[in-house]
């Protein structure tokens, strides 16, 4: 029986040492580079412990801040994390701890859902919001894929529409016990938040009151969050427009970091504080 202490494995490429910030009772791992408009990036249900090329492109133009959610990457899972309201308050406190005042938020996938919840409760804190392939809504006949009901290799296939062999550096090593346990832990947090329901049924009633300028970034063919969800967000939010990155799957920030960053930077600079 393996009794090795649980270690947080380091991804093969793109790993960087995090910085640490005390937020309430927990230590948050985060990465930050660049100057300009303060931009909080909220990651999806994976892809942690890395400084990705997309981040680097963003950091060339803005002050890019990428924390790891509680229960992801190297940030511990606190007992109190039970729902999105806990995350909203956590990110309010995180922004306060960094003295961000008003800032821009960019959320990818699960992070897009968190960003939308943050905007519902603290719209006055947000200079702009960018939702990239965001989860959080339910569309009849167009459900989110149930990522819990498939093996990791199928998740990878859906993330890159079958081209995952080109993106192995972004994916956990499925042959390494530490990596498998790390992914299990991160999916535990994901399940805690989104097992059932896998969306927030209150968002459709709440989003129309959110007057934050919003850019919704969609893939060309998203097989995890169906394309229609991007349009639905733009319909519900009073000040939103859609941009799609051609030739991409759900993992668009890994596939087209330059194109995605260029669109988002232009939008953020157009809504400078």
């Amino acid at each position: 029986m393996s009794n090795a202490p649980a270690t947080t494995p380091r991804p093969r490429r793109f790993y960087t040492e995090p910085r640490w910030l005390e937020v309430g009772e927990i230590r948050v791992a985060y990465r930050r580079r660049g100057t300009g408009e303060p931009t909080l990036f909220l990651h999806g249900a994976g892809g942690t412990r890395m400084w990705l090329p997309f981040y680097e492109r963003m950091a060339e133009s803005v002050d890019f801040i990428a924390p790891e959610h509680p229960g992801f990457g190297e940030t511990e899972l606190p007992e109190w994390l039970r729902g999105f309201d806990d995350l909203v308050l956590h990110y309010r406190d995180f922004a306060d701890a960094l003295g961000l005042g008003r800032f821009h938020v960019v959320g990818f996938s699960l992070g897009g859902w968190i960003a939308a919840e943050l905007a519902v409760f603290y719209p006055e804190r947000l200079a702009s919001m960018t939702l990239i392939a965001p989860a959080g809504l339910h569309l009849p006949g167009k459900p989110l894929v149930d990522l819990f009901a498939m093996p990791p290799e199928r998740v990878a296939g859906l993330l890159f529409n079958g081209q995952e062999a080109q993106y192995l550096d972004y994916l956990p090593d499925g042959t390494n016990l530490d990596e498998i346990v790390q992914a299990y832990g991160e999916f535990t947090t994901f399940a805690r938040l989104a097992w059932s329901p896998s969306h927030d049924p209150k968002l459709p009633r709440r989003l129309p009151a959110v007057r934050v300028p919003t850019l919704v970034v969609g893939a060309e063919d998203d097989r995890i969050v169906p394309n229609e969800h991007v349009d639905r967000y733009a319909e519900l939010l009073p000040d939103a427009r859609v941009v799609r990155i051609p030739g991409t799957a759900h993992g668009l920030i890994m596939q087209e970091p330059d194109l995605a960053a260029a669109e988002i930077v232009a939008f953020i600079e157009g809504n400078a504080r």
Binding site: A149, L177, Y184
Partner: protein, 449 residues
């Protein structure tokens, strides 16, 4: 005393489904268009007759269980099945190895239903308390990440509801109740015996040993069964300072007995193959949803699987099942020899799955398995009279009205009010002379003449 207690468990499979090669899973997503209720009616009828026959065969008890949305076992409500069995039997204990507390909207419902069954059956209920498989967290949309804490909170609530006078208040993490006050209360005091099934989690063994519950290890290679039961005994002795009774140590070992070894294998092979390879077919992602185990337990679990090269149940061949002793198949002599060896290794006093229905057996074959078990195996583990354990004791409540009237006096009589200060027992309220007498008593000055 009986050296070994024999229980059957009938999963009530629905075997008329495609083979595993043509399905994602025999659980959760197997289309229920494969379920023909007319076939289901026939199956339930057969299975229930097999359950009821256990009393005459002389089993020590009959177990039912709970699973959802699958072809392996069609008892989503074990209490309904238990209710049917207690109505058709008189003395045999019925073990409910549900109820999956996390899958109930409210654990009080479990406290109430099990207490009802216990009262109706005259104290014949064994109550399992279980969490359910990973598959059931998919089927019920139940969050696996707090399954363990929610289970133990529900457990504590059920036990308190059974044992402490109500009404009382319950303020937990998952349940908030101003008034816990279930009617009826269970007949067996302080509560029905509790059994906890386990699949290998150390935490479950520990929790069962701590509370002196009967632990029942489910489907495992023999070395793992023995290890789990040894661990139970060790925890009981070293941590909680008592020596567990053999009746606290159980295992589910599918058993098939026939006239000869050769005949037994011939008959058992196709059905045990269906049970494991078809009925239990499910992908790992259904069995182990994230958060059902802690990260540490998951690491240990995965490490053991890799190190000991443990195959998923549905990949076991018939030869694996026999060689690794997941099952026992053979003549009466072979089965006796194997059960004795298992007892020596583990100290277990409870065997579950001793004969009965496995897989897609025709009813006559399940009955044959039970009859040979009853007549040629069980007596070997019993005193010369061959009696099951329940035949060694009196029923827990009187079974005739004359005994009831002679021995059970209610603490209070029912009363209805006639006038101010005048009450009468409604059972004599239709008799004018009794009504008059009651009024006369009320009119008489207090303290008499």
């Amino acid at each position: 005393m009986n050296k070994l207690l024999f229980y059957t468990i009938n999963f009530m499979p629905y075997p008329f489904v495609p083979p595993p090669e043509e399905l994602e899973s025999a659980w959760v997503t197997i289309p229920n268009s494969h379920y023909d209720p007319r076939v289901g009616h026939r199956l339930y009828t057969d299975y229930l007759e097999e359950e009821i026959a256990t009393e005459r065969f002389g089993y020590d008890g009959v177990l039912v269980n709970e699973h959802h949305q699958n072809a392996y076992g069609n008892m989503p409500s074990p209490n309904l099945i238990a209710s049917y069995i207690i109505a058709r039997t008189s003395r045999i204990p019925v073990g409910i190895i549900g109820n999956a507390l996390n899958l109930y909207h409210h654990p009080l419902r479990v406290a109430e239903e099990v207490a009802m069954l216990d009262v109706i059956s005259g104290g014949r209920i064994i109550s399992g308390l279980v969490r359910g498989t990973g598959m059931e967290y998919f089927s019920y949309g139940e969050n696996p990440t707090w399954a363990r804490e929610k289970f133990w909170e529900a457990h504590d609530l059920v036990i308190k509801a059974w044992t402490e006078p109500g009404p009382f208040e319950w303020e937990g993490e998952h349940f908030h109740l101003r008034y816990v006050n279930p009617w009826p209360r269970p007949l067996q005091q302080p509560h029905p015996p509790i059994w906890v099934p386990g699949v290998g989690s150390l935490e479950t063994v520990e929790e069962a040993a701590k509370r002196r519950y009967t632990f029942m290890q489910v489907y495992a290679p023999r070395w793992l069964l023995v290890k789990a039961l040894q661990l139970y005994r060790q925890i009981a002795e070293e941590k909680y300072g008592y020596t567990p009774s053999p009746y606290q140590l159980g295992s589910a070992i599918p058993t098939y007995v026939a006239e000869t070894d050769e005949q037994a294998h011939r008959e058992a092979r196709p059905h045990l193959t269906w049970l494991f390879r078809n009925g239990l077919q499910h992908p790992e992602y259904f069995a182990f949803p994230p958060g059902a185990m802690s990260k540490k337990s998951f690491r240990n679990f995965l490490g053991t699987i890799i190190e000991k090269n443990i195959k998923p149940l549905y990949r076991l061949t018939y030869e694996d099942l026999i060689e690794q002793e997941y099952v026992i198949v053979g003549s009466p002599d072979t089965v006796i020899e194997q059960l004795e060896r298992f007892q020596e290794q583990s100290g277990a006093g409870v065997i579950v799955g001793a004969g009965g229905q496995w897989g897609a057996m025709p009813s006559w074959m399940a009955m044959k398995n039970m009859q040979i078990m009853a007549e040629e195996v069980m007596p070997h583990f019993r005193p010369p009279d061959g009696k099951p354990i329940w035949a060694r004791e009196e029923p827990k409540v009187p079974t005739t009205l004359s005994e009831q009237a002679a021995t059970v006096k209610p603490a209070l009589a029912p009363r209805i009010r006639l006038d101010e200060d005048t009450y009468i027992d409604p059972r004599i309220g239709h008799l004018p002379e009794q009504v008059e007498a009651a009024r006369a008593r009320a009119a008489a000055p207090a303290g008499g003449e």
